[in-house]
Symmetry: C2
Subunit: 153 residues, 2 copies
């Protein structure tokens, strides 16, 4: 019976991890929605803010989605005033996705929100527990990555 008990324990832990993923996602979605953004669109802003103006092709590769999808995401961001399509200096086929003033300001907000979230989540957690927690995350992350690579193989 020991085995069954241990299994139930790890399953409960898995459930809490899954619950955490949902709760974290809900929290972010709510925040983004207040800014007129979605998770996918925010990722575009995040990338462009980090790497500077880039083509849609580069965005598609970075995000791991189709070129068509990026067209739609950028359309939405242009309409809502976060980015513009600027002509590429060397390639007339391509456009450089560039943050507007609003886009830049939003990227700063997202950055601060990320810092704030990290602070809120881990403040009051002793350094020792923080380390143990980080080790656990790394362990699980490695396993999941390996499983994904295995299936993709």
């Amino acid at each position: 019976m020991k085995y069954l008990h241990e299994l139930a324990q790890t399953e409960r832990l898995l459930d809490r991890i899954l619950e955490l993923t949902v709760a974290l996602g809900d929290d972010m979605d709510r925040d983004l929605r207040e800014r007129g953004l979605t998770r996918s669109r925010a990722q575009v802003i995040w990338r462009v803010a980090g790497q500077g103006p880039m083509t849609q092709r580069a965005l598609a590769d970075a995000l791991g989605v189709s070129a068509r999808n990026v067209t739609g995401l950028v359309d939405g961001l242009v309409q809502t005033g976060f980015v513009t399509r600027e002509p590429h200096p060397d390639d007339r086929r391509a456009a450089l996705i560039t943050l507007t003033q609003r886009g830049v300001a939003t990227a700063s907000d997202l950055r601060r929100g990320h810092e704030q979230l990290a602070r809120t989540l881990f403040e009051g957690m002793p350094a020792q527990q923080l380390d143990a927690f980080a080790d656990g995350i790394d362990h699980v992350l490695r396993v999941v990555r390996a499983a994904l690579a295995d299936r993709a193989g």
Copy 2:
């Protein structure tokens, strides 16, 4: 400079947690896709398997989505042969969403997959580390839940 350093450390930890949520989601999506399911539809099967035949209204409340949404999810599950709409014995307005043979078999597969995932993720993790990890998850989950409740007002 100590503060900045610590902040960067917790931010990296947050990044890994977010990366884990994405990786776990991708892994589950791939598995579900092979079964002809999506995450939303699998949740319907999971609920009905756990609680027995239920109305769409009950499903909508349990999943926290609109009644319209459930209509669409059930439509998809009926078309793909996982559930049927059975007449409710006491209320002719309502239908009881019921698992087909395929639905029951799939629910068992999902259950086993959940056990297997828990086993894979945590096997080889010493009990002590497991406890520390669980504490960390609980801590973070409590904070996020509190943040969500706070915003919800």
